[in-house]
C-alpha cells in the first residue's frame, strides 16, 4: 500500500494562559491511501492535537511530517492553508456550522474555495438531507447537523477526511447513522478517513487503530475484519 502521510518523532507543546503543556512527546506513524483509521485515547492523551497536526491546523513544535512525500513541517502559513483547502476535510465534534447559513449554504461555503468540488445536491442526497437543504442549523437535530458538517467537509473532494469525535454529541442511533456515512465515503469514494474518539467500540470499524497514551503512540493494531456501524453498539 502506498504511503499517504508519514510522521517522524512529532512533538507538540503549547501555552494556555500562564501554563506550558507538552502534549505530544514524540510520535511516529504512517497512513496509507484509502485507510480507515481510528485514533483512540483518553482525554489529554494528545489525540486531538495529533489530528490537528495531520490536518494542518497547527504545526508540530518538533519532528517531521510528510504528505505525499512533501514536508508539511517546513511549509509556511500560506501553503498550509492551501493544503487544508485542497487536501483535507474536517468534521468537528460540535459540528461548527455557520448558524445563520442554511444546510445548503453551509455546504456551498466550502464549494466556493474548492478546486474540484463535488455537487452540493449529490452530497446532500448521499448524507440523506436532500429535503432539509433550506433549514438553518437551529432547525436540525444533532445528527442532521453532523451530517451537514460531513457533507461540507466532503464536498471539497479532499484526499483525507479528519473527524474529531464525530459521534461525541450524539445518541447511539444517530451516531451509527453518521458512522455509516463515513464508512461509505471510505469504501465507495476511497477517501482516507481518520476518526479520533475515546469510544473503544468505534475502533472496531477501522482498518487500523492507533492507541495514544500520555502523548505517545502506545500501540498500533490492524483490524482484520472491520465491522459495519450497524454491528457495533455502545
Amino acid at each position: 500500500m502506498e504511503v499517504l502521510m508519514e510522521g517522524k518523532d512529532l512533538r507538540k507543546h503549547y501555552r494556555t494562559g500562564e501554563v506550558e503543556i507538552e502534549v505530544l512527546k514524540g510520535i511516529s506513524f504512517q497512513i496509507f491511501y484509502g485507510e480507515f483509521i481510528v485514533i483512540l485515547g483518553q482525554s489529554g492523551s494528545g489525540k486531538t492535537t495529533l489530528l490537528n497536526i495531520i490536518g494542518g491546523m497547527t504545526q508540530p513544535s518538533m519532528g517531521e511530517l510528510y504528505y505525499k512525500e512533501q514536508p508539511l513541517h517546513k511549509i509556511d502559513d500560506q501553503e498550509l492553508t492551501l493544503y487544508r483547502r485542497n487536501e483535507v476535510g474536517f468534521v468537528f465534534q460540535n459540528y461548527n456550522l455557520m448558524p445563520n447559513l442554511t444546510a445548503y449554504e453551509n455546504i456551498r461555503l466550502a464549494v466556493e474555495i474548492a478546486q474540484n468540488p463535488l455537487s452540493v445536491s449529490d452530497i446532500l442526497r448521499e448524507v440523506g438531507l436532500e429535503n432539509w437543504s433550506d433549514h438553518f442549523p437551529s432547525q436540525l437535530s444533532g445528527g442532521q447537523q453532523q451530517r451537514v458538517a460531513i457533507a461540507r467537509a466532503i464536498v471539497k473532494n479532499p484526499e483525507i477526511l479528519l473527524c474529531d469525535e464525530p459521534t461525541g454529541a450524539l445518541d447511539i442511533q444517530t451516531g451509527v447513522q453518521v458512522l455509516k456515512v463515513l464508512q461509505k465515503l471510505n469504501r465507495e469514494y476511497h477517501k482516507t478517513v481518520i476518526i479520533i474518539t475515546h469510544n473503544v467500540e468505534i475502533a472496531k470499524m477501522a482498518n487500523r487503530v492507533f492507541y495514544l497514551k500520555d502523548g505517545l503512540l502506545d500501540d498500533v493494531r490492524v483490524i482484520e475484519r472491520p465491522l459495519c456501524p450497524e454491528e457495533i453498539s455502545w
Binding site: 490537528n52 487544508r84 483547502r85 485542497n86 474536517f90 445563520n100 461555503l109 466556493e112 474555495i113 471539497k156
Partner: protein, 792 residues
C-alpha cells in the same frame, strides 16, 4: 464569496440596533460636513464672483471734503490703479406714525465718466435718473419696511425734509452684510438700509458742494495696501482725512470672510468628533464579533479560507456600516445645504448665492466614512491573522485572575453587591475596550458641556454688557467731534436728565512691531459710571490718567501685555512733522465681550489728539419717560448723527444671541445621541459576553432588575471615568470654540460655569439611562434555560 457575504448580512441583521445607531452617528457627522461644506463653498464662490463682477475696492477712505475734480489725480500716486469719489451720508427716515429710529446710508452712484469701482448690481426696477428725486434701496430694507417700487420715502437730509421715490433695488459688494457701524453687532433691515442716488441729486441736497467725503480705490497688481496708505494719508490730510481701511477690514467683507472661515473650521472639526465616536463603536463591536466568532473563524481557516479572505470578510462589516452612513449623511447633507444656504442668504445679501447638488462632497462623504470605518476595523481584523485554526477553535484562555485596582480598597469593595463587583471588575479586566468607551463618553460629555456653556456665554454678552458695562439710558452720537462743554451743558439741561458723561471715540491704529490693529479708541471721563470697564471678576476698574487699557482680544492680536508699549496713530490727531503718532504704555488688559476697544482717560486722549476738549458722544442717564421727547428733539439736529436708547441696543444684542440658541440645542441633541449610541453598543456587547453569567443569576432566582445591576455597575463606572476625563476635555473644547468664534465684533469667554458641567453630566446620564432601559428589556427576555443548556 457569496456565502460569506450572505453571512455578513445576516450577522448585521441580528445586531441591527447597534449597527443602526452607528450608521446614524456617522450619517450625522457627515450630514454636518456635507451641508456646511457645500454652503461655504457656495458662499465663497458667490463672494469672489460678485467682487470680481463689481470691481470691489481695495481701500476705503473717509474725509471731511475732497474736491470732486481732484479724485482722479489720486491715480497718479504710486500703486493706485483706479479711484472714485462719492458722497456718503447717513440720513434719518422721517416716520410720522412710528416712534422709531430708521436710517439710510445714502451712497452716490459712479458717474458715467468716472472709475467704475464698487459697481452696484440692479436687482429690480431701474436706475435713478440724474437730478431727479429718485433712489434705489437695498432689497432687505424694502421688504422689512413693506415698501414697493414707486413708493416715496421722507428723509431728513442736513436738516431738510426731502421726499424721494424708490425706482428699484440694488446690491453693492460693499454692503453684503449691512450694519450701521462696527458696534451694531446685528443687521436690522427694518432700521438701517442702504440707498443709492445719483451724485447730482444728492449734491443739490447737501452742504458738500463740489466735494466728496468718501473715496474708494483699487490697487495695481502686486501692490500692497500698506505701501500706498501713507501717501494717501499725506495727500488727504489737508482735506480732513478721517480714516483709511483696507478691503480686509471693511465691515461687510470682514464679517463675511470671518463667517466663511468659521464655517470652514467647523466642517473640519465637528465631523471628526462624530466619526471618532463611530470609530470607537465600530472598533469595539468588531473586536467583540471576532471574539464571539472565534470558532467560526477557526472553522473557516480549517477549511482552507486564507487569512486575506477571512480578514476581508470581517472588514466588510465596518465597510458596509461606514458606506451606508456616508451615503446617508452625504445625501441628507446635500439636501440640508439648500435650506442652510437659504438661511445664510437671509444674513448675507450675496447675489448668486445658491446651493447646488454636489457629487464631489457626496463622494468625499462616502470616502471619509469608508476610511474611518476601515481604520476602526483593521486592528480587530488583523487579530484574526494571529490565530492558528486549532487555537481559534479552542476556547480562549481564561482572563487574568489578579485583583483589580479598585478591589484593593476593601472597605469600599465590601459595600458593593456581587452584581456590582462583577460589573466593575470587568471594566478593569478589559482595559483597552474600557478606555475606548471612557474616551467616547468624555467626548460626548465635553460636547454637551460646551453647548450648555454657550448659553452662559450668550448671557454674559447680553446681561453683562447691558447691565454692568453700558449703564446709560441714552447715547447721543455727534456727527463730528465737538467742544465738550457746550454740548454737555445743552444736554444736561434737558428734561429728565440726571447725569451726562462726555465720551470721545476716535478711530486709531495700534501697532506692536509688525502687528497692527485698527480699533475705536475710547476716552472716558473721570470716574465714569455710565460706561464701566470691568476686570475678570466683574469689579469696576478706573482708567488710569496716562497710558491705555486694552481688551483681551486686542492684546492677543497685538501680542502685548500690561507694561508693554504700543505705537498709536489716529487720523484725528493733529500731527507734527516729527510725531505722527505716539508710544503709549499698556496699563492693563481687560475682558471685553462686545466691540473691540482701547480705553484712555478722556483728558489723556484729548492731549494725544491735540484738538482741545472735544467729545464725539454724550452718555445720558435720564428718566425713561422723557427718552421719547429727547429723541424727537435731537433726531433732526444737524450735529447729531444718532440718538439711541440702551433698550434699542439691548434688542439688537438679544436678536444676535437668539441665533446661538439653535446651535446650542443642536450640539446638545447630537451629543446626547452619540452618548446613547456608545453606551447602547457597550451594553449589548456586555450582555452578549455575559449571557451565561446572567442566565445563571436568573436561574439562581434574581429578578431581571437585580441582574441588570451587573451591566449598570459597569456602565456607571465607565460613565464616572468618562466624566472625569471629560472635564479637562470640555475646558479645552470650550477654549478652542471661544477662540474660533470670537472676532472683532464680540469675544466669547471660555468660561465653564458649574451649571454647564452639571447639566452636561445630567444629559450624559440620561443617555446612559435610555441605553440601560434597552438592556433591561433584553435581560427580561433572556432564554436562560436554553443558554445554559448549550455548550460554548
Amino acid at each position: 464569496m457569496v456565502m460569506l457575504r450572505r453571512k455578513t448580512w445576516r450577522d448585521i441583521k441580528e445586531n441591527f440596533g447597534v449597527y443602526l445607531a452607528c450608521i446614524m452617528v456617522i450619517a450625522l457627522g457627515l450630514l454636518l460636513y456635507t451641508s456646511m461644506s457645500i454652503a461655504v463653498e457656495s458662499m465663497d464662490k458667490a463672494q469672489q464672483d460678485f467682487y470680481a463682477e463689481t470691481n470691489f475696492a481695495d481701500g476705503f477712505i473717509t474725509v471731511t471734503g475732497y474736491p470732486e475734480n481732484k479724485v482722479n489725480s489720486l491715480t497718479f500716486l504710486p500703486g493706485i490703479d483706479q479711484a472714485a469719489g462719492r458722497i456718503v451720508k447717513e440720513v434719518r427716515v422721517i416716520d410720522q406714525q412710528k416712534d422709531s429710529n430708521r436710517y439710510l446710508k445714502m451712497v452716490t452712484l459712479n458717474e458715467a465718466n468716472a472709475s467704475q469701482i464698487n459697481q452696484i448690481q440692479l436687482i429690480d426696477g431701474q436706475l435713478p435718473k440724474e437730478n431727479q428725486p429718485e433712489i434705489l434701496v437695498d432689497p432687505k430694507f424694502l421688504a422689512a419696511n413693506h415698501l414697493s417700487l414707486g413708493d416715496s420715502i421722507d428723509l431728513s437730509i442736513d436738516g431738510n425734509q426731502v421726499s424721494l421715490y424708490i425706482t428699484g433695488t440694488a446690491q453693492s459688494p460693499e454692503f453684503i452684510y449691512i450694519m450701521r457701524n462696527a458696534q451694531d453687532l446685528y443687521p436690522s433691515a427694518e432700521e438701517f438700509g442702504i440707498a443709492y442716488i445719483s451724485l447730482s441729486t444728492l449734491k443739490a441736497l447737501v452742504k458738500e458742494k463740489g466735494q466728496v467725503n468718501d473715496i474708494v480705490f483699487t490697487l495695481e497688481d502686486g501692490v500692497s495696501f500698506d505701501s500706498v496708505k501713507d501717501n494717501l494719508q499725506a495727500e488727504l490730510k489737508p482735506y480732513g482725512f478721517r480714516s483709511i481701511v483696507p478691503r480686509k477690514d471693511q465691515t461687510s467683507n470682514s464679517i463675511l470672510t470671518s463667517e466663511i472661515k468659521q464655517i470652514r473650521t467647523m466642517t473640519k472639526t465637528l465631523p471628526v468628533v462624530f466619526l471618532g465616536v463611530a470609530a470607537i463603536i465600530l472598533y469595539t463591536m468588531l473586536r467583540r464579533l471576532i471574539e464571539q466568532q472565534r470558532v467560526s473563524i477557526g472553522t473557516l481557516k480549517a477549511f482552507g479560507f486564507t487569512d486575506r479572505e477571512i480578514v476581508l470578510h470581517y472588514l466588510t462589516y465596518p465597510v458596509v456600516i461606514g458606506t451606508t452612513g456616508g451615503l446617508l449623511g452625504g445625501l441628507s447633507g446635500v439636501a440640508l445645504s439648500f435650506p442652510l444656504t437659504a438661511m445664510y442668504k437671509e444674513f448675507f445679501a450675496l447675489p448668486g448665492l445658491k446651493s447646488e447638488f454636489s457629487l464631489k462632497y457626496l463622494f468625499i462623504s462616502i470616502a471619509l466614512a469608508f476610511v474611518f470605518s476601515v481604520l476602526s476595523g483593521v486592528k480587530g481584523s488583523l487579530d484574526i491573522l494571529r490565530l492558528e485554526p486549532a487555537e481559534a477553535m479552542r476556547p480562549p484562555a481564561p482572563g487574568t485572575a489578579r485583583k483589580t485596582l479598585i478591589e484593593k480598597f476593601t472597605w469600599f469593595w465590601k459595600t458593593l453587591s456581587s452584581q456590582a463587583q462583577m460589573g466593575i471588575r470587568d471594566v478593569f479586566r478589559t482595559p483597552t475596550r474600557s478606555l475606548f468607551n471612557v474616551i467616547g463618553i468624555a467626548v460626548v460629555y465635553s460636547l454637551m458641556t460646551v453647548s450648555w456653556s454657550m448659553q452662559n456665554m450668550t448671557d454674559l454678552l447680553t446681561v453683562v454688557q447691558l447691565e454692568q458695562v453700558q449703564t446709560y439710558d441714552v447715547k447721543l452720537q455727534l456727527t463730528d467731534p465737538s467742544p465738550t462743554g457746550a454740548v454737555k451743558f445743552a444736554v444736561a439741561h434737558e428734561l429728565g436728565v440726571s447725569k451726562v458723561e462726555p465720551v470721545l471715540e476716535v478711530p486709531a491704529s495700534l501697532r506692536n512691531g509688525w502687528l497692527k490693529k485698527d480699533v475705536a479708541l475710547m476716552g472716558l471721563s473721570d470716574e465714569s459710571t455710565l460706561y464701566n470697564i470691568l476686570d475678570k471678576n466683574g469689579r469696576r476698574l478706573e482708567v488710569s490718567d496716562h497710558g491705555v487699557l486694552i481688551s483681551e482680544h486686542l492684546a492677543k492680536s497685538l501680542n502685548v501685555k500690561a507694561g508693554d508699549v504700543i505705537y498709536v496713530e489716529s487720523p484725528l490727531r493733529r500731527e507734527t512733522l516729527s510725531q505722527k503718532g505716539e508710544n503709549l504704555l499698556v496699563t492693563g488688559v481687560v475682558p471685553q465681550y462686545v466691540g473691540l476697544n482701547a480705553f484712555m482717560k478722556d483728558t489723556e486722549l484729548q492731549r494725544f489728539l491735540r484738538q482741545g476738549e472735544i467729545s464725539t458722544a454724550m452718555l445720558i442717564q435720564m428718566d425713561s419717560a422723557e427718552i421719547g421727547s429727547m429723541k424727537s428733539k435731537y433726531q433732526n439736529a444737524s450735529n447729531v448723527s444718532s440718538i439711541e436708547s440702551l433698550k434699542d441696543t439691548g434688542a439688537k444684542i438679544q436678536k444676535m444671541m437668539e441665533s446661538f440658541g439653535f446651535t446650542v440645542w443642536l450640539l446638545a441633541i447630537l451629543g446626547g445621541f452619540c452618548g446613547f449610541a456608545l453606551i447602547y453598543n457597550a451594553s449589548i456587547i456586555s450582555l452578549s459576553e455575559r449571557k451565561r453569567e446572567l442566565a445563571s443569576l436568573r436561574v439562581l432566582g434574581m429578578t431581571p432588575r437585580e441582574v441588570l445591576r451587573v451591566i449598570t455597575s459597569e456602565q456607571w463606572t465607565l460613565y464616572a471615568f468618562g466624566i472625569l476625563l471629560g472635564i479637562p476635555m470640555a475646558y479645552g473644547l470650550s477654549m478652542s470654540m471661544a477662540q474660533s468664534m470670537s472676532n472683532d465684533m464680540y469675544s466669547l469667554p471660555a468660561d465653564l460655569p458649574p451649571m454647564a458641567l452639571l447639566g452636561a453630566a445630567a444629559g450624559t446620564a440620561f443617555s446612559v439611562l435610555v441605553a440601560q432601559s434597552r438592556a433591561y428589556y433584553k435581560i427580561k427576555s433572556l432564554p436562560y434555560v436554553e443558554i445554559l443548556a448549550t455548550r460554548d
